[in-house]
Symmetry: D2
Subunit: 159 residues, 4 copies
């Protein structure tokens, strides 16, 4: 990808990654025989959910601590269509941010390995009174420390 | 309709009715160019929601009293297809039941007035501890009394 | 299940079966924290699609021969809720019919093996002029012969 | 809005506008009680579809001429949540482009008139052989001429 969705500070640790495989459902395809563009937030979320669970910062990890992580921004670039029955992979990439934001990038590839779609989402963290968190809660500070320390370096995009 | 989805006791008051108009969205149509069969629960719900709101027994009326009304049964009979841009009406019919159940019937008609789809749903009422309600809570008893008293007789299926 | 959705003639071969595993997505859960009742047609379809593909009568097998297999009837009985992240299995069962119909039954089970939902769907076969097929096309006659001959007896509900 | 999604050449005619009203459905709301972020492409599309129909460049107008107008880019900025039953308006804005692109902006407002969500989509035009159109087909050239001539100046965002 020529254009980077997110900029990194020079000392940012490398991004975290995971991959999910999925097959296009009949209901996801439109009258033109291709996946309707509005289904991709679901595809992106599959990657985001798994990456979170893999690193102890899943939806339920936040929820259990009274923290919400609403989506503030979503973006998709459609390059190639997907069709009913197509097998594809969703690569989710979590980029380091010094701010209290979750910056995810998504890369979808078809069975030939071609990139069909890319995109990103940005999340803020809210406390139980809907105030934006400016400082990381302990479990999240811990996660960031382990990330910085290289604990997730083995992360690979393999099923 | 030849077959009745629900049986009435002899002294049951006439059913309540309302109609909603809707237009088929692009995203609701499948690769064959017709509305995917799994979108119809959404169409049914449009009718059910409006009928409830019209009579003080809407989703939020139950919710405000700590009562849930989960769907226990849903059924659809597909007779004619609907296509992108088709304008159609959803008639929701609430049948009287001596038991603590909400028995809704649904009749969809296309712009020519032909029946395209029929169906029904059955709901039970649960209290805040997820126990099935056997007796009507006051607001619901009140609604039933007004129904019996003929207060809703003016109900007509007009937009 | 006490009540059978479909009746069999005495000499009908045993039904065909397959199972799909799925995990509840965040988007599938409603404001009450349980899967919205209208998502289950998607769950049922996952089972129906795989069972068809496994036996050479998948959506694309029909499509390639100019045959459509629209859903004429769908039914769901909701017994237990499913929640975000729940892992569950969808068992699809194809019952023999002497008529040109596809009669599928669906049984969903949660991670404890408890039945959460059952249902069924009925499909007719239409030729390229939208006429109901009364006689099986060759590939489908062949499938039925192999079924009668016991070729699929090994079918088991295992992932 | 401080940031403009699209830049205009100095002599571009003013953008076209239309508004659609919609009410949040129960199924659109997530476990946190707010509209799931992935439903907004549907909201955007309601506006895009109506604006196209109003000006003779609807989905079916393209389709009838063998032209597809796939979404190449979609973006959403979430500012305030929407909840079950909320009434809101979707303003769709078509910005002039010298290139063969459809550049739509979307502005959602709640019942108090506050902006809840903004976004945009970019579409290319493809001929029947999936080649990108570099020159406008006649009906589209005609539409652009009428736009330039100020024929749509009366366009107002009123229901």
């Amino acid at each position: 990808m020529a254009k980077a969705y997110f900029k990194h500070s020079a000392d940012a640790p490398p991004p975290l990654r995971c991959c999910v495989e999925r097959v296009v459902r009949f209901e996801e395809v439109d009258a033109l025989g291709i996946v309707w563009h509005g289904r991709y937030p679901s595809y992106f979320e599959d990657g985001r959910v798994l990456l979170g669970e893999n690193h102890g910062i899943g939806y339920m990890d936040f929820y259990a601590r009274g923290i919400a992580a609403p989506i503030k921004q979503m973006h998709a670039d459609y390059k190639l269509p997907l069709r009913f029955g197509d097998r594809f992979t969703i690569e989710a990439v979590l980029h380091w941010s010094d701010a209290m934001r979750l910056n995810h990038e998504f890369i979808l590839r078809n069975a030939e390995g071609l990139i069909t779609t890319t995109g990103y989402s940005v999340q803020l963290l809210l406390d139980s009174e809907n105030q934006v968190l400016m400082l990381p809660p302990p479990f999240y500070a811990d996660f960031r420390e382990r990330w910085r320390a290289g604990e997730f370096l083995g992360d690979r995009c393999t099923e």
